[in-house]
Amino acid sequence: MGRRIAVVILALSALMPLVLLGLWSVGDHWFFPTLIPPAFTTDSWRATLTGRLGAAALISGVVALATAVLGCAFAMPIGRAMARLSGWRRHMASALAFLPVAAPPIALGLGLQYAFVTLGVSGTIVGVIAAHVVSATSFLAIYFAGVFTALDPRIEDEARCLGARPLDVWTRITIPIVRRQIGDALALGFLVSWAQVPLTLVIGGGIVRTLPLEVYDYLRAGETRYAATGALLLTVPPMLALLAARRERVAPL
């Protein structure tokens, strides 16, 4: 009985905010203390197809996808090299890789901003992607270091010994063996970029409008309906990732 109550409370605490967001996203002229919106409208949802919210979601998606792919592409070789180190070298490499994660995003953003202004990519989507990739490469490299530490190094040695060139080793041995972990890393890179605000703000300079930025602006402007709609859109990729993760079979390397 007690357990059932706990489950109900947990479900309510997880679902209530979403239900409220849902109501907010369609409620018209809805003010405290009214419990149910007096009128409904779908204008904010229509905006996801044609208006600012839709454009922002598209930009966020492009940035997050590029970040996930590029971040993994950079982080995998770095993580594999880190996994082959030991002792103080491993420690130093880990600390170095962790630095962009440990540093406050604003600080990292300001540092990158200086470099990106010189490169002329500040305030562009390319600049935002590059900044997100720096941060993603950092934590994904640490993630991949763990993955490759668990991978028997003799497997790659064996492939080389049988005549495989380095590219063959990557494409036929290493990547297929860790493909599930690569999927996880892509999801992780996507989600962190998808929710990223400070870096986008500093590097994008308010010109690159991603979804979380639009939600912020709508909230500040008191446009609750649009903010709630944007917030609901923001929860879609994490939910999909959770569903996918639930279905995955847990298999050792």
Partner: protein, 322 residues
């Protein structure tokens, strides 16, 4: 014929010491060449150097074609079926599918794993994984196969099975094998010729039978387990196996002070003029401890060495090139 492998004046560093030096030998196509040495003698370093996996500091290695090094424990690709594991060396060489199929099936058949093609490596026993690794090693017909103690980690039944598999490999592949081991049984089971690695050099190269009956030096004789040593006049040492000690009516008087039971045979420990020697005895009817025996030596089993460093057996009977 040109040898499959020619090693001349090779120096291989290993551990913290000076490393192997002046390693010179050749291996013919189709030959199984065993490098025999104690643990820590540098056998694995030599093998890895031949495979190009470890550095050498001097000398030359000439291999007629690619060499493949096989780990002591099999390392199969966990994400590929048995078939795809064996096909791997052919796939990376871009061979056509028809050729891959026929060669993979032939290789699997030669190690008696024909029915296992669709299986995943994690479903195989240790012995089966060994056989698949062997098939994968020879499928691309390397000039040279390097094996690191291939029987060492196996139980007695699997050892015999693996020995047959290794001998069977050369049925349709004429490559050479270099096998390192510390184990005399493994050596005699697999070798066409054997090199003894002692004190960081090759001490002798001979056929197994020649090596066991005519070790080139006292050190080699000791390594081969010629248990008995007795000083003889002229600053020399007589070395003989327990089988050379026989009961003899007019022989030396000796007293049985112990019994030793080994796989290779049971021996009685005899005390003779204060020295201890071992004599082969019938394991089912051994003498009693304290028995007095009169024994003699079969002269055919006795080797004489001037001292530790000078071999009395002429080196010309071996194929050492120096």
């Amino acid at each position: 014929m040109e040898p499959a492998l020619l090693v001349q004046g090779l120096a291989v560093p290993f551990g913290s010491g000076p490393g192997l030096r002046e390693v010179t030998f050749d291996v013919a196509a189709g030959e199984r060449f065993v490098v025999l040495g104690a643990s820590g003698a540098g056998k694995t370093s030599l093998l890895r150097a031949l495979a190009g996996l470890s550095p050498v500091t001097d000398g030359t290695i000439a291999v007629r074609g690619p060499a493949i090094y096989l780990h002591q424990t099999p390392v199969l690709f966990p994400h590929l079926t048995v078939y795809e594991n064996v096909a791997f060396p052919l796939r990376i060489r871009g061979r056509p599918q028809a050729e891959i199929d026929s060669r993979v099936r032939a290789a699997l058949a030669s190690v008696r794993m024909g029915g296992f093609a669709p299986r995943m490596p994690r479903t195989l026993s240790g012995g089966q994984a060994h056989r698949v690794a062997l098939a994968r090693a020879v499928v691309a017909r390397p000039a040279l196969l390097l094996l690191d103690e291939p029987l060492a980690s196996l139980d007695p039944t699997l050892r015999e099975d693996m020995r047959r598999t290794i001998l069977g490999l050369q049925a349709d592949w004429d490559g050479a094998m270099v096998i390192v081991t510390h184990d005399l049984d493994e050596m005699s089971a697999l070798a066409d010729r054997v090199a003894v690695l002692l004190d960081r050099r090759i001490a002798q190269i001979a056929s197994p039978a020649e090596l066991l009956s005519r070790p080139a030096s006292l050190a080699v004789a000791r390594f081969l387990g010629h248990l008995n040593e007795m000083p003889v006049p002229g600053d020399a040492v007589a070395v003989f196996p327990p089988t050379a000690v026989r009961p003899q009516v007019d022989g030396f008087r000796a007293r049985v002070s112990g019994l030793r039971v080994r796989v290779r045979g049971t021996t009685a420990v005899l005390t003779l003029d204060g020295a201890e020697i071992e004599m082969s005895v019938d394991p089912l009817q051994p003498p009693e401890i304290g028995d007095e025996l009169t024994v003699g030596l079969d002269p055919r089993g006795v080797l004489k060495f001037q001292n530790v460093d000078t071999p009395s057996v002429p080196m010309s009977s071996t194929r050492i090139v120096s």
